[in-house]
Symmetry: C2
Subunit: 212 residues, 2 copies
């Protein structure tokens, strides 16, 4: 497959494919001569994955690069989860102030009740803290009161996520996707899917509640 074909097949412009090659989102093709290269189905699949991460997942090119690097180098699915979580979360706020302290105590409690381990430096922890602190600063207590119930549902969702991963080959045969690949896709696109389902469900529930 030549680049033009890869482009036609994927709908991604040639110039953009070249850009992705430069940015290491796509591995280089197999050289057939000093300035010619061939691509195969794995490149097509990777390209589609990258577009999904960027378009649906809303990742930046830099985050997507970390993701694919993780896919290529992760020893197993558990490891790639950590890498993927690190890649996906950009830490933003200051990590001080009374609302953060308060959020920390709250999250500790929830984690204890649910058996979660709050590894220090875990980006998901920071994300949760930032969000909880912001809820507090915006004076929205009702969500906090139900945090435990949300956590319980998150547990159920995570179980589904993981259940979808079992039954995949641990390492991938040349053209088959592995658990690692599936973990990344499931994590990034899973967020988008669940958010969409939640909106549909919210609309349903809202119509019942406000428009009886």
């Amino acid at each position: 497959m030549r680049m033009a074909e890869l482009s036609a097949e994927s709908g991604v412009p040639v110039a953009t494919i070249k850009y992705y090659l430069r940015e290491d989102l796509l591995p280089p093709g197999a050289r057939t001569s000093p300035n010619q290269a061939r691509y195969d189905r794995s490149h097509l699949h990777r390209l589609r994955l990258v577009r999904a991460l960027l378009d649906i997942g809303g990742l930046s090119v830099a985050q997507a690069r970390e993701m694919v690097a993780g896919i290529d180098s992760a020893p197993d699915a558990h490891a790639v989860l950590g890498t993927a979580q690190a890649a996906i979360s950009t830490v933003r706020g200051r990590r001080d102030g009374e609302s953060h302290v308060w959020a920390g105590g709250l999250l500790d409690e929830v984690a204890r009740r649910h058996g979660w381990s709050l590894t220090p430096g875990n980006p998901a922890v920071d994300l949760a803290l930032d969000t909880l602190a912001t809820f507090a600063e915006l004076e929205h207590p009702e969500l906090v009161a139900r945090l435990d119930e949300y956590a319980g549902l998150a547990d159920r969702v995570a179980e589904l996520d993981l259940a979808g991963l079992s039954g995949r080959p641990e390492r991938e045969a040349p053209e088959r996707k592995s658990v690692v690949d599936a973990a990344v896709v499931g994590m990034v696109l899973g967020d988008a899917l669940f958010a969409a389902l939640r909106r549909l469900a919210q609309e349903h529930a809202s119509a019942r509640m406000f428009r009886p």
Copy 2:
């Protein structure tokens, strides 16, 4: 409160506040003379809300503008949900191809089982279709097999979301937040919070599954 004070209180630079005023993210202050203005707590609250939408929610300035416009003009909470959903979702892909057709059939079925109404033009529907179609194109069937279970959990999450809204005043007194305000915050930050909880739960479940 003068602009400098608003800036100090919120941590947002004066130049940025001026920018937000230009972009209609913040209503103008009360004029005390042709070129002087005063701000109050409502401006401070709005400013914090905007920063939360941008930083935690990851919205663009344009999306945030639609959100606050919705807050200011929505007749009730059900209406603002629709506005907010429209503001939050940028439609991206082409809406054709066999995977979209397939996704449409699948989603119809799920919606029927859960009592959801798929209003045409609903952006959440498009988002769900895009995501499902992408899953299909990336050859990840396992998630699809569990779509119904995800939908069930989305129902439960949405119920929690809505439960948090009841008990708020329908219209807001000058300095109190209304259901409408809470609906927006809950929707945007709710996504971030749930995503974070899901990550923590995934890590827990993953450790149990892959590192027994």
